[in-house]
C-alpha cells in the first residue's frame, strides 16, 4: 500500500498507514525525494504511529530515506514510535543514526521548524 504524502507549507508529511512492504518503502523514498524538489520542501515528517513493528529492514530504510532527503537539501524527522516498538528496537540493537525523533506530528512540526530556523541562523 502506497504511503500518502501531504504537503503542508514548507513541509511534506508521510503518514505510514500500515505495515510497509519493501517495495512500498522504495516507493516512499522515491516519492519523497522527487517531491522535495518539486515543492521545494524544507522538511519531511515520517509518521509511524500505526507501525507495530520496526525491524532492522524498516530501520535501514528510514535511515536511507533521511540521508537521501538530506542530500536533497531538506531535513527529516521521524515521529510516532510507540513505547513497545521503541523497546523492541533498542533490544534488537537498532539505532536511527542521526535521524531526529519526536513524539508525534505536532512535536515533529515544531522540531522541524526550529531545526530549519536554527540551520539558517547558525554556522554548521
Amino acid at each position: 500500500m502506497a504511503v500518502p504524502i501531504l504537503k503542508q507549507h514548507d513541509y511534506l508529511i508521510a503518514t505510514v498507514q500500515s505495515t510497509l512492504t519493501d517495495s512500498d518503502m522504495m516507493q516512499l523514498q522515491n516519492d519523497l525525494a522527487e517531491r522535495v524538489g518539486r515543492f521545494r520542501s524544507k522538511g519531511v515528517i515520517i509518521d509511524v504511529t500505526v507501525l507495530d513493528v520496526m525491524d532492522s529492514f524498516a530501520c535501514r530504510m528510514i535511515r536511507t530515506i533521511a540521508q537521501v532527503i538530506r542530500l536533497r537539501g531538506a531535513e527529516t524527522v521521524l515521529v510516532g514510535i510507540q513505547p513497545d516498538v521503541a523497546f523492541a528496537m533498542v533490544q534488537l540493537g537498532l539505532s536511527l543514526d542521526n535521524v531526529p525523533t519526536a513524539l508525534d506530528l505536532e512535536d515533529g512540526l515544531a522540531l522541524l521548524e526550529q531545526r530549519i530556523r536554527g540551520r539558517h541562523n547558525h554556522e554548521r
Binding site: 505495515t19 532492522s56 523497546f87 523492541a88
Partner: protein
C-alpha cells in the same frame, strides 16, 4: 490456542513476512504475553522471516505454544532449504552481513528472545528455533 495447535506460515514474499509477524503477535497475545513482549516476538519473527526471503527465497515459519518443566511460552521456528550459512559464529556477530544490510538480524533476534538456536548446512538450508517464556 491450545498446546497442540501449530500455525505454519509459508514465506515467499515480504507480504508473508507481515502475515507471519501478525500471526505471531496474535498467538502471543492469546497466550497471555504482555504487549511489550508481543512486540519483541513480532519483531523477532520479522527478522528471521526477512532472512528467509532475502537469502533462501522461500521457507516457512511455525508458531506454537509450548510447556516444558512447568514453564510455558511460545516456540517459533524458521526453516528454509536455502544456501545455508558457512560460518555461524560470524553470522551471529553484530554488524556482520553478506548483503547490504545492518547485520543485526540474527544477534539482535537472539537478544529479543529467551532461547535462540540456529543450525545450518551448506546447500541444505537453515533452521532457527527460538522460545520466549511467559513469566
Amino acid at each position: 490456542m491450545n498446546d497442540e495447535s501449530i500455525v505454519i506460515v509459508a514465506i515467499r514474499s515480504d507480504a508473508d513476512i507481515i502475515a507471519a509477524r501478525q500471526q505471531g503477535r496474535q498467538i502471543a497475545a492469546s497466550l497471555g504475553f504482555t504487549s511489550t513482549e508481543q512486540a519483541l516476538i513480532a519483531t523477532a519473527i520479522s527478522e528471521v522471516a526477512r532472512n528467509i526471503v532475502e537469502y533462501a527465497q522461500k521457507g516457512e515459519i511455525t508458531i506454537q505454544a509450548f510447556s516444558e518443566r512447568g514453564k510455558h511460552g511460545i516456540l517459533v521456528q524458521a526453516r528454509d532449504q536455502g544456501p545455508g550459512i558457512a560460518d555461524l559464529d560470524l553470522a551471529m556477530q553484530d554488524g556482520y552481513s553478506t548483503s547490504n544490510s545492518l547485520g543485526l538480524g540474527l544477534p539482535g533476534t537472539k537478544r529479543l528472545m529467551d532461547e535462540f538456536d540456529i543450525t545450518s548446512e551448506i546447500g541444505k538450508g537453515t533452521t532457527v528455533t527460538m522460545k520466549k517464556w511467559r513469566y
